[in-house]
């Protein structure tokens, strides 16, 4: 027989003002199974909790119901108190008589009757509560970081510095990501490469970091603490162990006219190449699509000139399986392009802005490469069409961003700041030039950000025109930009030498297919979804997977680095114990009755249901039943509602508990 203790909280007067708490305590005290029922001013206070703890001991209580505020507020508090008094925390339930009763009803009689019902219902429920032992899952203390941009690098370094192995996977031949492409960074205008490359080298030299560049995630299996990740290492055609990075192959390669993606295709590279001089690893890769050897079978110069004999035309893609306990996803962003989009695409292009047709209309990243000292122009601002220095330059903000009619409604967050930076860089390099900026608003929250923006206007003489560009066309060697200045209310026409578009930030291509492999959710733009927008911004809903950087949404560098370190901290929290403890609200299969129709497996969004073979002592297969992996199960209970014979049951929300509550009413 249960000995239930019921504690009715006054919540100061929040509850007792409308609910007759003494009467509730009296009536509930008469219910079968209730052996102690009382009311108290503040149950959540120390004396309140002590009252609870003492009653558990003195009255030998077996179950507890605390009737107070919403369980969303204090369930953890009271379960902890109950545990401290020696009871299993899951033998404690809360009855919500504040948010759901005293605060929403004025009539004292009605509210009191309702409170009695609510508490009575929880009393019947708690009778059916079972002791739930905390679930422990072993943790493999290695982590996978996907993406070698600043986010991935920061996360990898933080985790590795704590002494845990990190597998860092990068799709491109070198780590560095977009940050390596930038010239200077706002709001301090320090050289991006100067601050980035030491970190890249740290990664390369870190004994705890295992780097896979030119590699992609093929498959992810398992669950928090126990993932098996299959990595496809694409054939580099150069043996990383033998290569010394001398670069002779690159110098000798006869095919040198290939647009370099790293330089936004305005610079050129050879067929065997490193994307940029400071690449990590400094091991070249052969671009097989453009290599004469691979196209015609003739050439092979690089192989001949390679001293260590590292060039290997026969190299194949290889699959590597790594066991990890946590995954940080840091796949970053890509830039929106304004060209025509395929029919049916939810995102539209800006055909009217001539990007791709007018050579002197470029995007912000291309401008970064032009301004970069290590870029194709050696840091001189020279326009792509004829290599002349532009004397009038127009920057247009919000290209794609905040344009619902183009399919993207969000703000890309960094464009205001980098456009301001561009005007400064321009002014520093072309002293007699004039920069114009068309903008909707300037969004500059952030430490020293607004000051930076104002500097671009007040000190660097950029002319900001509030308004949108209506038309843009080529006239001789000029690009005519027509727009309106809504602040003054006049039409503006500028004959520019070059136009820079601040195009929107989008998730990396293939973000959705990676999400499917990982089993994480993503929004309609393919940005990955965090578990909670405010309180769990770093975790995915899928346990053991964390987000860092712009793959989750547009971010600037400081934010990205913060989130990367936060993700690393989350991983470290996970790795701080050998066994992972989690709330035992998970589904369990009653194997005795399960017939293996796997309806549960079909509805499980987490892939937590597995097939398990039951064999007799002779090893003969008796039947195949469902098995719920407690490490993966998120505890939604959809499986139970679907199972026809109710042979899978969600602990904490069993049919017995639910029916007991319904019958109590």
């Amino acid at each position: 027989m249960s000995r239930i203790g019921v504690f009715i909280c006054h919540c100061g007067e929040n509850i007792s003002r409308t609910v007759d708490v003494e009467r509730v305590a009296q009536e509930i005290g008469r219910l079968p199974g209730v052996s102690f029922s009382t009311d108290y001013k503040y149950m959540c206070s120390d004396p309140g909790q002590n009252l609870l703890k003492n009653a558990i001991k003195e009255q030998k209580l077996t179950h507890v119901v605390v009737a107070a505020c919403s369980p969303r507020m204090h369930e953890k508090t009271f379960r902890k108190a109950v545990e401290a008094a020696g009871l299993n925390p899951f033998l404690c339930e809360m009855a919500n008589i504040r948010e759901h009763c005293s605060w929403v009803h004025e009539n004292r009689e009605e509210a009191t009757v309702k409170a009695i019902d609510i508490v009575g219902m929880m009393v019947e429920r708690v009778k059916k509560n079972r002791v739930l032992p905390t679930i422990t899952v072993p943790v493999t203390k290695r982590s996978l970081v996907i993406g070698g941009g600043i986010a991935g690098i920061q996360a990898a370094l933080d985790i590795a510095d704590c002494g845990h192995e990190v597998i860092l996977v990068e799709r491109e031949p070198s780590i560095g990501g977009h940050m390596a492409q930038l010239s200077e960074t706002f709001p301090t205008l320090d050289c991006s490469q100067c601050i980035m490359t030491p970190k890249m080298v740290d990664v390369a030299n870190h004994p705890k970091i295992k780097l896979y560049t030119y590699s992609e995630i093929e498959r992810v299996e398992g669950y928090i603490g126990n993932f098996q990740v299959t990595i496809k290492k694409k054939a580099r055609s150069v043996d990383e162990d033998k290569c010394t990075g001398c670069g002779v192959c690159i110098t000798k390669c006869p095919q040198k006219k290939i647009p370099n993606k790293f330089d936004c295709n305005i610079g050129l590279r050879s067929a065997i190449y490193v994307p940029f001089p400071q690449a990590v690893p400094n091991t070249p890769v052969i671009d097989r699509d453009n290599c004469t050897k691979f196209k015609t079978g003739k050439c092979g110069v690089c192989q001949k000139v390679c001293g260590p004999g590292a060039v290997d035309f026969e190299q194949q893609d290889t699959l590597i399986v790594e066991a990890v306990g946590a995954i940080v996803v840091a796949t970053g962003f890509d830039l929106y392009t304004i060209d025509e989009k395929p029919k049916g695409s939810p995102i539209k292009g800006y055909g009217e802005f001539g990007h791709g047709k007018i050579p002197d209309v470029i995007d912000g990243m291309t401008f970064e490469r032009l301004a970069s000292a290590s870029g194709p122009t050696g840091g001189k601002i020279l326009r792509p069409s004829d290599g002349k220095e532009p004397k009038q330059i127009v920057f247009i903000q919000c290209i794609g961003s905040r344009a619902r009619e183009k399919g993207i409604s969000y703000c890309s967050k960094v464009c205001c700041m980098y456009t301001a930076k561009h005007t400064m860089l321009y002014h520093h390099k072309v002293h007699d030039g004039q920069a114009y900026v068309f903008f909707m608003d300037a969004r500059t929250p952030g430490k020293s950000y607004d000051e930076f923006w104002r500097r671009s206007i007040e000190e660097e003489e950029a002319v900001y025109i509030r308004g949108m560009v209506s038309r843009l066309y080529q006239k001789g060697d000029k690009v005519v930009v027509m727009g309106s200045d809504i602040a003054v209310g006049v039409q503006v026409e500028i004959e520019a030498d070059m136009v820079v578009l601040a195009t929107a930030i989008q998730p990396q291509k293939g973000a959705d297919s990676l999400a499917q492999k990982l089993g994480i959710s993503y929004d309609k733009y393919n940005f990955y979804s965090e578990a909670h927008a405010k309180l769990r911004p770093v975790e995915c809903a899928t346990a053991g997977i964390y987000l860092a950087g712009a793959c989750q949404g547009p971010k600037d560098i400081p934010e990205t680095v913060s989130q990367a370190s936060a993700a690393a901290a989350k991983v470290m929290t996970l790795f701080s114990k050998d066994q992972l403890e989690r709330e035992p609200i998970v589904a369990r299969v009653r194997e005795f009755g399960c017939v293996g129709c796997f309806a549960c497996k079909k509805v499980c969004a987490y892939g937590a249901v597995e097939e398990k073979e039951i064999r007799d002592r002779q090893g003969n297969l008796v039947k195949t039943v469902a098995f719920v992996n407690p490490g993966v199960c998120a505890g939604c209970g959809t499986c139970q509602a679907t199972c026809p014979s109710k042979c899978v049951e969600l602990d904490g929300y069993t049919d017995e508990q639910v029916i007991a509550m319904i019958e109590a009413l």
Binding site: S70, P71, R72, N96, R98, E99, H100, C101, W103, V104, H105, E106, N107, E110, A111, V113, K114, D117, I118, M121, S521, A541, I585, V603, A605, Y606, A634, G635, C636, G637, T638, Q640, A641, T642, L650, Y653, D655, V658, I659, M661, I662, E663, L665
Partner: protein
Amino acid sequence: MHPEKQKHTFEPKIIAFVCTWCTYAGADLAGTSRMQYPSNVRVLKFPCTGRIDPVFILKAFQQGADGVLVSGCHPGDCHYIAGNFHARRRFAVFRKLLEFVGVDLNRLQFSWVSAAEGGKWVEVVTDLTEKVRSMGPMTEFKELALEEQWSGTIDTPELQEAYNAI
């Protein structure tokens, strides 16, 4: 301050099955915002609408509910990715079944109420309570519960009393 509350002869019993992440939180918000609504509703919390078995609805009616509300996260907002999508199909079909056996679907309400929609919670609960109040008590299942096969019937005073109570 407040207008005099109207006295009703019939107070319906409304049972609400809600998910913890959206609707329960929405109801909490209605509370913290001190919104007012009829006290007839009794809330049962589930992790997700995906957990709500049609049998619970049936059982609620059998146990004397005059109206039943099932409420969870808006499509796309499910804390468990897709529980509410499964629930949506399940209940689309189940309500058709109940309708076919003669249950008036005005007594069974489904809604999406997010954690931010305290106002919508109040509206949904108030509307359902008033609708069911105007329909009168749900007698079908209660009467059925008192019926016996002829051979097992005996007229006992308590049976008579129960009949009169409907």
